[in-house]
């Protein structure tokens, strides 16, 4: 069409004098926080994978190594120096710290993944029920959420574990998941409520689309970044609970996870004996995991909420 041609012929006005504005309109998933966090976790697990291939993980069992050796290049209070056989040192029951790290890190993350997944699934079901069905469902679920969020979960878990004694990791994960449904439920309910009121969902309802289709075709895809962020947050919470319980002495004792290692080190007074590698390696590893999860979470937040992107 002639008119189209005229439009094309017209001179380009403005131009890209403000290049900085460009980035925010790019693919939202190319978010440096999200990618950075995922990258850190990926790298961590790649190293652990290599560790499983090339290091003897049986050294994580007690009495497989000399006691209380420092990492290479350091000296312990007895004047012993680190040896290449145990590059990250050993602790006071003769576990090799490197092997313990290789074995313990995935075990800690495992608890988080299981607890977060179970809690999240419950949260999705309850949140959608409350937000979409409303009425009595909503009242009861809201009340339950309010109560569950108020109660500090660690205290009830302590009571449970005081009765059960030490448990394996899966049981611990499932126990933690008993308390990790409330936050996702609350969050998802709020999101579903606001989406239910939005124009396009109202439209779909008016045109007779079945409720299930509205949930899974209209609401779910839009909730995806929110759900992911909520899932990651849930994982952080679950790992914090797990580490807390482990530090109180409730973790598996034979093959320790990172939290259990910290428990042992505190019990043995590692803080006073300057055996920093004993508690320090688990602490730093956990911190890295948490920082990575936070970065992923922040990235997902920005992906879900374009306004935050603009604010950067």
């Amino acid at each position: 069409m002639a008119e189209d041609k005229m439009v094309q012929d017209a001179p380009v006005a403005g131009g890209t004098k403000k290049a900085g504005v460009l980035n925010r309109f790019d693919n939202p998933w190319l978010n440096w926080k999200f990618l950075g966090g995922a990258g850190i976790l990926g790298l961590l697990f790649f190293i652990i994978f290599l560790g499983y291939q090339f290091w003897d993980t049986d050294l994580a069992l007690s009495a497989r190594a000399p006691l209380n050796l420092p990492p290479i290049g350091f000296e312990n209070w007895r004047g012993q120096t680190g040896v290449p056989e145990h590059p990250l040192g050993t602790e006071n029951s003769g576990r090799d710290m490197l092997a313990l790290w290789i074995v313990g890190t995935p075990r800690t993350v495992f608890v988080g993944v299981i607890a977060a997944t179970v809690g999240m699934l419950a949260g999705i079901v309850l949140g959608f029920m409350a937000g979409f069905l409303g009425g009595l469902f909503d009242d009861v679920i809201r009340l339950a959420v309010d109560i569950a969020i108020t109660i500090p979960s660690l205290l009830v878990l302590i009571v449970i574990q005081a009765v059960l004694g030490r448990v394996d990791l899966l049981t611990m994960a499932l126990l933690i998941s008993l308390f990790s449904w409330a936050t996702p439920t609350r969050y998802i309910r709020a999101q579903v409520l606001s989406m239910r009121e939005s124009g396009y969902v109202q439209m779909a309802r008016l045109s007779g689309v079945p409720v299930r289709d509205i949930m899974f075709k209209e609401i779910m895809p839009n909730l995806l970044p929110y759900l992911s962020a909520s899932y990651i947050g849930n994982m952080q919470g679950a790992i914090i609970s797990a580490v807390g319980l482990e530090v109180l002495g409730f973790g598996p004792q034979r093959i320790p996870s990172l939290g259990v290692a910290i428990f042992f080190s505190i019990e043995a007074g590692a803080l006073f004996r300057n055996m920093w590698w004993w508690w320090g390696i688990p602490t730093v590893t956990l911190s890295v995991v948490f920082i990575a999860l936070l970065l992923i979470n922040l990235g997902l937040d920005e992906i879900a909420n374009p306004r935050l992107r603009k604010a950067n």
Binding site: I147, I151, P152, L155, I240, V247, A311
Partner: protein
């Protein structure tokens, strides 16, 4: 100021009392759901630790009689609940003549103090940092420094406690490593005692603050960004109000309301963290009491301490919930 509507008040009170009821019931039921007999298990553990226990059967019978474990469950439940209502949490099994109420009464103020002060600090600092992050007039340097200070955000307070304790107490020796006040001091309103309490409290409080305030800063920044897009912000700009006035009266004032809601929601998590920080610093509050009780297999004390901490958390949530209709004029009308 509309004040608090009856509907809102009733709902918050309902949640409060239901929370107490659920917590009490859980604490009552859990030991009874466990496989085996809790008293027998406890004696078994005691005997394991002590080597042997003479007349174990008699002891078990004696304990059961004492604790009324031979009565039907509902009788036990009613007795347990009426005991709680009267503030009677039973005896500590390990330190027999002491009641749980006594031991908790000694530990609770320390925990409340620690939680209260650290909450005050992270809430104020966090929201201020968040507001400054979002504010257009904040100096560039500050906008760079604040995110850097948030590096510890999301780490469990327990781990931050370990790092702080090692760095500032063990290596540098600036602060004491354990306990809530110096040995040999008598608690009282003396300058020396107060100074000692502050000196001992700084690291535990910091352990909570440095991992927490970043969350509040991020939340606040998000709220501020939302509010910056509101129509009333454009009008505030058009009105030629002073920038600082706009910041606190238009932006922070409106952004702080959701933050208050978030605070109420986060109390539970906060208490979890404080319990563990106390353990790291051997701070003589509720957390340390629980750990001691765990070590001594003092089940009555574990139950009592947990319950009182849950009550305290629920009370804190109730207070926050009841206070923000006072700062948000809209809540009272809507009834929520």
């Amino acid at each position: 100021m509309g004040g608090i509507s009856l509907n809102y008040l009733l709902r918050r009170l309902l949640v409060f009392f239901l929370t107490l009821w659920v917590a009490a019931t859980l604490i009552f039921i859990i030991p009874r759901l466990a496989p085996g007999d809790p008293i027998a298990a406890m004696v078994a553990r005691l005997s394991y630790q002590a080597g042997f226990v003479e007349n174990a059967d008699l002891i078990i019978e004696g304990w059961k009689e004492r604790f009324g474990l031979n009565d039907p469950v509902y009788v036990q439940y009613l007795r347990f609940m009426t005991g709680l209502l009267g503030g009677d949490l039973g005896y500590s099994m390990a330190r027999f003549p002491s009641t749980v109420t006594e031991l908790v009464g000694r530990a609770l103020p320390w925990t409340i103090g620690l939680v209260g002060i650290s909450t005050f600090i992270f809430f104020v600092v966090g929201n201020l940092c968040g507001a400054l992050l979002a504010w257009a007039r904040t100096p560039r340097l500050v906008k760079v420094l604040i995110p850097m200070s948030m590096i510890f955000t999301s780490i469990p307070p327990l781990l931050a406690g370990l790092l702080l304790s090692y760095t500032f107490a063990f290596l540098l020796g600036w602060f004491p490593q354990t306990y809530s006040y110096g040995f040999g001091l008598t608690p009282g309103l003396t300058l020396e005692f107060i100074a000692s309490v502050i000196h001992h409290g700084i690291l535990p409080a910091m352990a909570i603050v440095i991992v927490t305030f970043g969350y509040w800063a991020l939340g606040m920044r998000g709220m501020m960004v939302t509010i910056e897009g509101e129509d009333y912000m454009i009008l505030a700009q058009a009105k030629g109000l002073k920038p600082f006035y706009v910041l606190y009266r238009y932006m922070i004032r409106n952004a702080i309301l959701p933050q208050m809601t978030a605070l109420a929601v986060s109390i539970g998590t906060l208490v979890n963290g404080v319990v563990l920080v106390e353990v790291i610093f051997n701070y003589n509050g509720m957390g340390t009491l629980i750990v001691t009780a765990l070590r001594e297999q003092d089940f009555g004390l574990i139950q009592g301490t947990s319950f009182i901490l849950i009550v305290t958390s629920a009370l804190a949530v109730l207070i926050i919930d009841l206070s923000y209709p006072l700062i948000d004029p809209r809540i009272s009308l809507e009834g929520r």
